[in-house]
Symmetry: C2
Subunit: 226 residues, 2 copies
């Protein structure tokens, strides 16, 4: 059961700074240029976090809008996915740019540990972000950092808090969250297939697990992500 | 592969109050009496949270000590397990009674969502509680509310932060955490058996799932809990 392969580019995580890696695109202009490069190389989806002048992550709608407008002009047809991840703001701020109607936005449907802290997505916030995505017709990419987040997303799509079919990204290799265990991916994919066969999925490995997880995803029939 | 069945009694969760259920044992004296009843009926392990006068949960070592002394006298040989769960205090307080050397203490090795909030067990706190259990020779019961907590516990027992063999309790039926999916228990048990065959485990269903999860655990060779 192989599905068409969507090459995703995550042009910037919320953490790396220029002092760590001078090649990291930070300004909106740099992010657009870097997306354009990936687009020309075949990427069809871009996952984006935006930054303040001082490179700290932000949910500032003005910056998201500048990116969205610029990238739609530079990369016709590319799927733009906004991050609602936790470093870019607190609580409701994290969805404050969804009215801009990106094609997609990330949505974590639970909480877990990260390398040095708790990645907090309290139930009320998850529901609020989901409601905004429904309102503005933004397709969520469920970021499943753990098994219960998968079940939670399925439950939310059963009771109408999310639209069907789901699109899920399983995330591996984050310290203190899901380790690089292929059996875990196989199980999560089998549960997704059992409970919502029309759903699509991808898998991402963070850091050193990136290539390995891409290979698992290809072999198991998911999307790939670069 | 059936193992001897240990009947556990969880005499009080941290939440129910007398006004909700007048039968709930709240004072240390009531808790000891209630444990004694279960002990006479065959219980061999007691999991305990203690309360303040106003019935709110607490980590107060004096109350834990009164319970421990009283129950050891009333129920010779019973295994006493202290809760280090999150409602009873913030941060390090939660392990402030481990020097009393109960036989066991609960330890959640990650964070997840609960019905109305994030159940926060940040990595530093998990490590600190684990270190205190090592120091005072208290055997942890790993409370696995999600799959990554199982992998985390195994990793901690591989690198020496926890002693082997692990004892794990899989918890099902908490809203926004792990739903009542038997396949999830089967998978987690198979991973535990693969990665640490000498480990023991049990499973608990919260609320309406209690009997169902007890049955799964019996059928899959785990302990039971009442
Ligand atoms: Zn992201
Ligand atoms: Zn995809
Ligand atoms: Zn408890
Ligand atoms: Zn046990």
């Amino acid at each position: 059961m192989s599905k068409p392969c969507i090459i995703t580019v995550a042009i910037t995580g919320s953490l790396p700074k220029k002092k760590d890696n001078p090649a990291v695109p930070v300004t909106v202009e740099e992010q657009i240029a870097s997306t354009r490069e990936a687009y020309e190389a075949g990427a069809s989806l871009v996952h984006v976090h935006v930054r303040n002048e001082d490179e700290t992550p932000t949910s500032d709608p003005a910056r998201f809008k500048a990116f969205l407008d610029g990238v739609r002009e530079a990369c016709p047809g590319i799927i733009v996915q906004f991050s609602t991840g936790g470093r870019s703001g607190v609580g409701s701020e994290r969805g404050g740019m969804l009215y801009l109607k990106p094609d997609m936005a990330s949505l974590s449907t639970g909480s877990c540990n990260f390398p040095t802290r708790v990645y907090e997505n309290p139930p009320q916030l998850v529901d609020e972000l989901a409601a905004k995505m429904l309102e503005h017709d933004v397709k969520p990419e469920i970021e499943a950092f753990d098994l219960s987040m998968l079940y939670q997303a399925i439950a939310m799509s059963e009771d109408g808090r999310l639209k069907k079919p789901l699109h899920v990204q399983f995330v591996f290799g984050v310290k203190n969250a899901m380790p690089l265990e292929r059996r875990a991916l196989e199980f999560m994919v089998s549960e997704l297939n059992r409970l919502q066969p029309e759903a699509t999925w991808t898998a991402a490995g963070i850091g050193r697990g990136q290539l390995e997880v891409n290979r698992w995803a290809l072999e198991l029939g998911g999307h790939c992500r670069t």
